[in-house]
């Protein structure tokens, strides 16, 4: 580890602290329909959208109506994206004449982008036309993020309101999230990315002459060796910068190119890298402030933020430590950082980012449900590779996805006050609402659905031939590849350890189902909690009320998140990355 590395990590954290309040206060004004400086431009557009779509912006919904609207919106968007991929050869903006996407891959991708997962079993530059990238994938980057923010706001309303049947209007919340939050900053960020060298065009791919022609040997079917001279290289083009901005800001993570944010056209400089990381955490961090503001208990918002911050810093510390330490089997190799050597484990990393910014990016992208990568997670040392896996397993509540992080951590907050209530023998309360059996059942259901889906699918894929045959690296690392794939799918993260051939009928189908269950079967119980809490009377704070504003609550919240995650997944982790780490130290690498 270097002082420079820590300086960059702490600089990132400092900037995050600074932007949390202004972003959170702005989101509060947007969703409470208070005047903002963007109203003069966006309000007429908003009204036009409602008029075209027939939405009554003053009509609120109960939790069931809210849930059905979200389901229908997602179902229609999913099917449209599926059809778009299946027909892209006949649609415009396909200068490379890329073929229609195969049914299983198209379905997997449609589910993936609808659920904000952005798991990609393909490379964008060789599979998706510009039209599919822009009208299909980028559209979903906005739509799924807006839906996530809307759902978080609905849950906060459920907590904040008293004796109310309604929790807002899904169409209004999603539209305002899109217009006020996602669109303006994505626009500005895209221009910044272009200024740094990210590309933005609709040109056919460029064929360039290579400076040093290469001789490549391939084996024919009869075993004879064929020699080819490679003198040209195809350089992919496309509308990258515009997609890159919302990819990060909406915590989507699906790259224009297969290499994602490692690709110099997506993430050209350390400045773009810094902004990409910051964009991921901007809304999730700001929403904790919005929570405090809407509940009229700002210190609660900061208590939740603190829990997230502690878990985030722990993740970075572990990832950076083990990456900087490198692989002990590389005896005789300089593993200490120096003026000329980065030291540590540089395998799978971009030189322009180095170890600190790779470890930081990896932690951030999996704390949130982003899933973009600027380095190869398959090349991380075992325990550093366990960090992203654990982050997703904990429910991506460490700032988390846009909206998803907040509603995820609030589920844990409900469990935390429930446990505190059990300890002192009182009916638990959360922000003036009694937490009863139904709320705890729904919170438990939301957590169980995701954990069970991950473990069941991973177990099947780990023993069945159709699952094992996709592993590139048998042994504990192979189990990690499978476990990571389903954890990432169910957690709607979308990053991959890599090395697993996921473009098969089994993985495309099963991961699609896993993503759907992880998104919608978790959201619906949470909406039910929102509806139930909204109807409750406010209970005045008393001496027996467990305070949710101080360090005690923060520590309890962290403990619940860690214990639930550890108890559920520790056996699987011990057979994967932990065993791999022990074997690596014993001299066996995978």
């Amino acid at each position: 580890m270097t002082a420079n590395g820590w300086f960059q990590i702490l600089l990132f954290f400092g900037v995050l602290v600074i932007i949390t309040k202004p972003i959170g206060a702005f989101l509060y004004r947007v969703f409470e329909r208070k005047p903002t400086f963007l109203d003069f431009v966006l309000r007429p557009i908003e009204r036009l959208i409602y008029r075209i779509c027939g939405v009554d912006e003053n009509k609120e919904m109960n939790w069931k109506e809210y849930g059905v609207a979200m389901l229908l919106f997602s179902a229609v968007s999913l099917l449209l994206l599926y059809l778009m991929q299946r027909a892209q050869l006949w649609l415009p903006w396909n200068p490379q004449r890329l073929a229609n996407v195969a049914p299983d891959l198209a379905w997997n991708t449609a589910v993936s982008f609808t659920t904000n997962t952005n798991w990609q079993a393909y490379s964008g530059e060789s599979t998706m036309s510009y039209f599919t990238q822009m009208a299909g994938l980028a559209y979903h980057n906005f739509a799924s993020a807006a839906a996530g923010i809307a759902l978080a706001i609905a849950l906060v309303r459920g907590v904040a309101r008293r004796e109310s049947k309604t929790i807002g209007n899904f169409w209004v919340d999603a539209t305002r999230a899109f217009l006020w939050a996602l669109l303006p900053i994505s626009f500005v960020a895209a221009i910044f990315f272009v200024s740094q060298g990210a590309i933005q065009n609709l040109r056919p791919y460029t064929t360039a002459n290579v400076i040093e022609p290469q001789a490549v040997e391939t084996k024919n079917a009869d075993g004879s060796v064929k020699k080819d001279a490679v003198t040209t290289q195809v350089i992919a083009q496309g509308p990258v910068a515009s997609q890159e901005a919302i990819k990060m800001f909406g915590t989507n993570g699906g790259g224009f190119f297969g290499a994602n944010s490692s690709h110099p056209f997506e993430n050209p400089t350390p400045f773009t890298n810094f902004l990409q990381m910051l964009l991921i955490f901007t809304i999730p961090s700001g929403l904790t402030y919005t929570l405090g503001r809407m509940c009229k208990l700002q210190r609660h918002g900061w208590a939740v933020w603190s829990a997230m911050a502690v878990l985030f810093l722990c993740g970075v510390l572990v990832a950076y430590t083990f990456e900087a330490r490198g692989n002990p089997q590389l005896a005789g190799i300089q593993t200490q950082a120096s003026a000329t050597q980065p030291g540590g484990n540089m395998e799978g990393k971009e030189v322009r980012f180095g170890i600190a910014n790779s470890a930081l990016f990896t932690t951030i992208t999996t704390d949130a449900s982003c899933g973009a990568v600027n380095n190869q997670h398959d090349s991380l040392t075992p325990l550093a590779g366990m960090v992203p896996l654990v982050n997703i397993m904990l429910g991506e509540v460490v700032f988390g996805g846009v909206g998803a992080g907040l509603y995820g951590i609030l589920v844990f907050a409900i469990l935390a006050v429930f446990l505190a209530g059990l300890m002192v023998g009182r009916t638990p309360e959360y922000l003036g609402k009694k937490i009863e059996a139904y709320d705890v059942k729904m919170a438990t259901l939301a957590i169980l659905v995701t954990s069970l889906t991950i473990l069941i699918f991973s177990a099947i894929a780990s023993v069945a031939k159709f699952g094992i045959s996709s592993i590139s690296n048998p042994g504990p690392h192979g189990l990690s590849q499978i476990l990571y794939a389903y954890t990432s799918g169910v957690g709607n993260n979308g990053s991959a350890l890599g090395g697993l051939n996921a473009n098969t009928l089994w993985y495309n189908s099963s991961l699609g189902v896993a993503m759907l269950l992880g998104r919608f079967f978790m959201i619906l119980p949470i909406l039910a909690i929102a509806g139930n809490l909204a109807e409750k009377k406010h209970v005045p704070e008393s001496l027996g009320t467990f305070p949710v504003t101080g360090p005690l609550f923060t520590v309890l919240l962290i403990s619940v998140v860690v214990i639930v995650g550890a108890l559920t997944f520790f056996p699987a982790l011990s057979l994967g990355p932990i065993l791999e780490h022990l074997l690596m130290n014993a001299g066996k690498a995978f």
Binding site: K64, L71, A75, P525
Partner: protein, 31 residues
């Protein structure tokens, strides 16, 4: 054929989603 399976499967999932939502509501009214 594959298209039919995936489209029908998607619709079935969202129908199940609405049934799941109803189940959550029923559990609430029974509390």
């Amino acid at each position: 054929m594959s298209d039919f399976v995936f489209v029908a499967g998607t619709i079935l999932f969202f129908v199940l989603g609405i049934a799941y939502l109803e189940g959550c509501e029923r559990l609430r009214s029974e509390k």
